[in-house]
């Protein structure tokens, strides 16, 4: 292959390094626009008794004030229709939306917000998922039984918005027969995606009532459907124009301030821009689900896993949002990538009075892997087994299935991935040094793929344009160009590929779930192959040859063996346009994809300072099973970035709540890794071409985030003998655990 498999800079890179890229807040229109701001609830749970916007409306420079009265009286949602965009009668978290103002400048808009009078009857609130399950807990959605809900939203009752029990075999008998049974509880707090670009929108409503929004979104077709639902509009009246996106990590798929901007633009008669503040973003924009996990595992003395009983409680927040996707993921990932004949999974998602949680890179992955992989490590050490060997003994292989995997799996490379990381890290070698330790953990992920379509056209000069609506987060768009170039025998420089908007792009999957390239790449490859067929037909007629004797290479089509007897692609395009079939173009579709496993293994060496609890990462080795790396530069970047995000969740990140309010909504207090914190990461790609991806590609964006927290926890145990079952593994928590250890000695 000439283009696929080569490292290429991203096609839009020069705009990015010169500051020319247009991100959400960079959009400018020929006409001026207003600045919007939203009024949010200061209470975690309250009834709205009175709402009076008259004073705000009278502020000079204010052009529109909207409340729930300006929206159709509908609830929206993806799985449970439980959310009114602006609150009518009740607010359910600190940050819930109440009203919005548009004014000539941001200061005026914010001043007007302060003049909106709201009388609240404050109700008891609950931000902890276990507390929300108690019989005396505040009831967050009294009217839940009236809500429309998707068939998959099973077990709804009170604050429980999803409950499902999955049983395979007989865990109780298996526990009785097991040599040892281990039971542990874990707690993983909420973390935030923390893209550097906050949520932003510019909305315009034209004279025909058509809504246009410029948004840094990961999912333009999702957003179009949400806006159509909230405003009760046909899809052709909503146009989403995706801007360059300053990071998403799953956090930019659900509506945040977009509907407010649309309502303000409609009422104010001018376009409206809303840029969320960092604090607003932290407090309200769909963070990762906090999770309580109980793992009970039965084993034989040789390390064979015989039964696993997992109980999970996810705090989904004030609304279900995308919560059920995460529940499905949790069911898939709960027991880990192991052959276990007897399994029970009890899974609940619970309404709580914090922001509704959403997808975050590998949703449910790191929470469950922290619990599962910590416990596997613990069991191995208790039984005197090597933690790598114990995993290898139980790992799934081709033809195995795991709960909710959707049938037997193929392309299973867990063992090879783990072995590679272990080899690279020289697992099992090195002498013990005081306070130093080594930990291993495995990440398991299942990549599906939603339906997509893509178009490819041959331009009159022989260049190629790929038409797609996929959002480019991870370099997907560049890889689509590589795929088209490979099929059509041209260079990447001869291909134009950029994201088109929702009015003009063929329907494209979301940029999430590691499936963008798998799904869009397959559609692009099909379309390119169809274009190739058309090229060969046109050329075959002209060259009086059989199309099977033609070669498409180096921007030319020629008869095999006689390169001079041929046509340039430009000649073919013009010939087709003027004499033959018309323009050469194809749009092709793919249906959804079955799940495919992807693995990531991490081995970390670290040192614990026993006087402070501070960790120093000495060496970090990771391997990931990536199929064919279409663009190794992008793949390496995805793996490195995912690991660092995982390390943040492992060591420093958590949304901290008191009285329903997030206490640390700033970069100063919510600590993501800086360059000073980042270890050097050694990455090894396990490239085994997959049977079910374009040119053998696999989903790659998420798996490497998953094992990081468990790898760190396991290394801490190895170093100083304390087992910490709650994230993040901060110096104070480690120090506290060491103090406990000293006391109990």
């Amino acid at each position: 292959m000439k283009v696929v498999g080569q490292a290429h800079s991203r096609v839009e890179i020069l705009e990015k390094v010169t500051g020319q890229s247009v991100f959400g807040a960079d959009v400018r229109l020929p006409t001026s626009f207003l600045f919007g701001a939203v009024l949010r609830s200061p209470h975690g749970h309250a009834r709205i008794k009175r709402l009076d916007t008259r004073k705000a409306e009278r502020v000079p420079g204010v052009k529109a004030v909207v409340t729930a009265q300006d929206f159709p009286p509908v609830r929206y949602g993806r799985f449970i229709w439980d959310q009114e965009y602006l609150a009518r009668t009740k607010v359910r978290y600190v940050g819930d939306l109440v009203a919005a103002v548009a004014a000539v400048d941001e200061n005026t808009a914010r001043r007007a917000l302060d003049l909106i009078e709201v009388d609240y009857e404050v109700l008891p609130s609950v931000t902890d998922a276990l507390e929300a399950l108690r019989p005396d807990a505040p009831f967050i959605h009294e009217e839940y039984e009236q809500y429309k809900a998707a068939a998959m939203a099973v077990g709804r009752k009170g604050n429980i918005c999803f409950h499902k029990e999955t049983v395979v075999g007989d865990v109780e008998s298996a526990f009785r027969e097991a040599d040892r049974v281990f039971e542990h509880r874990f707690h993983i707090p909420m973390v935030h995606q923390t893209y550097i670009e906050p949520h932003t929108v510019l909305a315009r409503v034209d004279a025909t009532g058509k809504v246009t929004v410029w948004v840094p979104t990961q999912a333009q077709f999702f957003l179009r459907s949400s806006l159509a639902e909230i405003f009760q509009l046909p899809f052709i009246k909503v146009r989403v124009i995706p801007t360059e996106i300053g990071g998403g990590f799953g956090g930019k798929m659900l509506p945040t301030v977009e509907p407010a901007a649309v309502a303000l633009a409609r009422k104010g008669g001018m376009p409206v821009q809303i840029v969320m503040s960092r604090a607003e973003d932290f407090q309200t924009a769909n963070p990762r689900h906090p999770c309580y996990a109980r793992y009970k595992t039965g084993v034989k003395l040789d390390g064979t896993l015989v039964a696993r009983d997992v109980e999970l409680v996810l705090g989904t927040g004030a609304y279900c949002g995308n919560g059920l996707v995460i529940c499905v993921r949790a069911e898939m990932l709960a027991i880990g990538p192991y052959r276990i004949p007897n399994v029970k999974i009890d899974l609940s998602a619970v309404y709580t009075n914090h922001a509704d949680c959403g997808p975050y890179r590998a949703p449910a992955g790191p929470q469950l892997a922290f619990a599962s992989e910590s416990q596997i490590d613990l069991i191995a050490r208790e039984l005197g087994l090597d933690p790598v060997e114990m995993r290898l003994k139980n790992l799934i292989e081709d033809g195995d299935e795991t709960p909710a995997s959707g049938g037997p799996l193929s392309d299973v490379h867990g063992k090879e991935t783990l072995r590679r990381a272990a080899e690279l890290a020289q697992w099992g070698t090195g002498s013990r040094q005081k306070n130093r330790g080594r930990g291993v953990a495995l990440g398991y992920w299942l990549v599906g793929g939603m339906a997509s379509s893509a178009g490819v056209k041959l331009n009159e000069d022989g260049t190629v344009t790929v038409m797609t609506g996929i959002i480019d987060l991870s370099g997907t768009v560049t890889s689509l160009g590589q795929i088209a170039a490979e099929v059509l025998g041209v260079d990447l420089a001869d291909v134009h590929v950029r994201t088109a908007d929702s009015d003009f792009a063929p329907h494209s999957t979301i940029s999430a779930g590691s499936q963008g390239l798998r799904s869009m790449g397959t559609a692009t490859k099909l379309a390119a192959e169809e274009v190739k067929k058309q090229i060969l037909q046109v050329a075959a007629d002209k060259l009086e040859a059989d199309s099977s004797d033609l070669v498409l290479e180096g921007k030319r089509v020629f008869v095999r063996g006689s390169i001079e007897k041929g046509l340039s692609l430009g000649q073919v395009a013009m010939l087709s346009m003027t004499h033959k079939r018309g323009p050469i173009v194809s749009v092709q579709s793919t249906p959804p994809f079955p799940n495919q496993p992807a693995f990531s293994a991490h081995v970390v060496d670290l040192e614990v300072d026993p006087d402070t609890g501070k960790l120093t990462l000495l060496r970090y080795v990771a391997s990931q099973d990536v199929g064919t790396a279409i663009n190794p530069l992008s793949v390496a970047g995805q793996v490195q970035g995912a690991i660092l995000q995982g390390l943040g969740q492992a060591m420093s990140e958590a949304c901290v709540f008191a009285n329903g309010k997030m206490l640390n909504p700033t970069f100063l207090d919510y600590k993501i890794f800086s360059s000073l914190d980042a270890p050097k990461i050694e990455v090894h790609l396990v490239e085994r071409a997959s049977e079910a991806g374009p040119f053998g590609a696999k989903g790659i964006g998420e798996p490497s985030l998953i094992p990081a927290p468990a790898a760190i926890a396991n290394a801490i145990y190895d170093a100083v003998g304390v087992r910490i079952c709650e994230l993040p593994l901060t110096p104070e928590r480690i120090f506290g655990a060491l103090q406990q250890q000293n006391k109990s000695r």
């Binding site: 839009e12 500051g19 960079d26 893209y195 980042a678």
Partner: protein, 157 residues
């Protein structure tokens, strides 16, 4: 609350601007909204993320924390001004080559922080590079490719 507007003169990327601004306008808003130089980004508005890093006189600053009136009479360099006559700055080339920009939102600030370093220390060590960009948060790359790109640019310039 119509605050009295003040006239300021600033030289941005070699071009002189005379504009009236509100005393409350940040230098970042001035650049982005008044001059339409949108390359410098706002990530937090609190001086914590570095996405708005620019060079003001002899200092590397977060433009969100400086008032436009404080820049009166000074020279400013932003991402828009570092390539000359269509020739990319070595840092821009190196960032492209090393995959040091993914989403690209932190990139303008990151490059300005790196330029500030290389202008003063043409051959930094890896540790010095890590220190120099420690005020610039990136959530995509893991920083490794950024450090490599800056070291590459130092060698090439």
């Amino acid at each position: 609350m119509a605050s009295r507007r003040k006239k300021i003169r600033v030289t941005v990327n070699g071009e002189l601007y005379e504009k009236e601004v509100s005393p409350a306008t940040s230098l970042l808003d001035f650049l982005r909204l008044e001059l339409n130089l949108t390359g410098s980004k706002e990530g937090c508005g609190e001086g914590e993320c570095g996405a708005c890093s620019i060079i003001l006189g002899e200092r590397l600053v977060d433009a969100c924390l400086i008032l436009a009136v404080e820049a009166d009479g000074q020279k400013i360099q932003t991402i828009e001004g570092i390539s000359s006559k269509g020739r990319l700055h070595p840092l821009q080339k190196a960032f492209a080559e090393k995959g040091a920009a993914q989403c690209g939102y932190c990139t303008p600030g990151m490059i300005m922080a790196a330029k500030y370093l290389l202008d003063r220390n043409p051959s930094p060590t890896s540790d010095q590079v890590v220190q120099a960009i420690s005020g610039n948060l990136c959530r995509c790359t893991g920083y490794g490719s950024i450090v490599e790109a800056i070291l590459l640019a130092a060698r090439e310039q």
